[in-house]
Each structure stands twice: as structure tokens, then as C-alpha cells.
Symmetry: C2
Subunit: 102 residues, 2 copies
């Protein structure tokens, strides 16, 4: 399998972020071609040292990195990427990788 992990840094207005993410971004991102599973963090994103500076983590599962790249190139992928700046006012880091279970 492969994962697209999105780390959303704490935005200026967390309530506005949460509303836009739930009502607008999830419905857009769920249309990504090849998406197998989509999980998001609920509640605080912590670290052993305390607050992480991350407001929300999204983990989108695909069959392969090639499928993630194809999703980014699709019309649905462009719509999802185009929506991010509308709510992710703290910025976001995206990580893309194949995985194996150990």
C-alpha cells in the first residue's frame, strides 16, 4: 500500500479550519481516484514533549505511490490541491510513500 500523509500546521482560525475541512475539503478529497481509505485525526495531535504544532493529520491510503501521483494529476486532485490554501492558513506538509506492514 501507499500513504499520503498531510500534516496541517495550526491555522490562524481553528474553528474556520475545522468547518471548511469537514464541510468542503473532505467531500472534495474523497473523490480522489484510487483512494482506498481516508482517516483524519480527532482531537489534539500530541507529541511526547507536549503540543506538536500540528492541528490535523490526514492519512489517505492508496495502492501505490504511482496511484497517488496519478490522483494528483487528475481533475479531482487539482480541485483538492486548489482547495487547501482556502483553509490551511498555517501551511501543510505532504508526505508520500509506499509502505509495508511489519
Amino acid at each position: 500500500m501507499a500513504e499520503l500523509v498531510v500534516l496541517y500546521k495550526t491555522p490562524k482560525d481553528t474553528a474556520a479550519f475545522d468547518k471548511h475541512y469537514a464541510e468542503t475539503h473532505i467531500p472534495i478529497a474523497k473523490k480522489l481516484p484510487g483512494l482506498k481509505k481516508y482517516a483524519v485525526s480527532t482531537g489534539p495531535v500530541g507529541s511526547p514533549a507536549g503540543p506538536s504544532g500540528i492541528h490535523l493529520v490526514a492519512i489517505l491510503t492508496f495502492n501505490s505511490v504511482a496511484d497517488i501521483q496519478a490522483a494528483f494529476g487528475s481533475a479531482e486532485g487539482k480541485a483538492a490541491a486548489g482547495d487547501v490554501p482556502k483553509f490551511a492558513t498555517g501551511g501543510a506538509d505532504l508526505l508520500i510513500f509506499d509502505t509495508k506492514e511489519v
Copy 2:
């Protein structure tokens, strides 16, 4: 469910990291109480802009954040945490959060 995501930054010696991670760290971490699933990245960890600076991502799944905290407090958790500085010469960020599927 809940996730413990470990982002290992690129170490000084990636071959030594990979050997220690596969041969020593995985067997230690697999003993964490409450661990339900353990996946690691294979190959490069990319980002849309190019290299991510992350060498390896580990995603450890538990039933809840409370279970992750209990695992950290266990003897097995202390052994796993104590092993990390032996190979993670680039440092590592840990993120802990409950999740829901959307």
C-alpha cells in the same frame, strides 16, 4: 483507532540506520503492548515539492491515545524509546492522535 506516527529525519548514515531499524528496532517495537498494526515506509519519502528530508515513516496503530500512552509507560515502551537514539542520528518527530475514518 489511534496512530503513533514517527517521522525519522535523514540520518548521517542511512545504511546503518536501515540495518539497525530492520534488525533491532522493529523487533523491539513490535513488543509494544496494545499495538494493532505496524507499517513502515519503503523507498523514498517524497513530497510534491521534491525530497522531504524524511528518511523513514513508521505508523503504529493502537485502539486509542490512552493505549499509546500506556505503551510508552511500559517496560517495552521504555526499551523502544531507549533504542531510538542509537540509530536516529537525524532526529525524529513523534505525533500521537486519535483517528476516525471519513
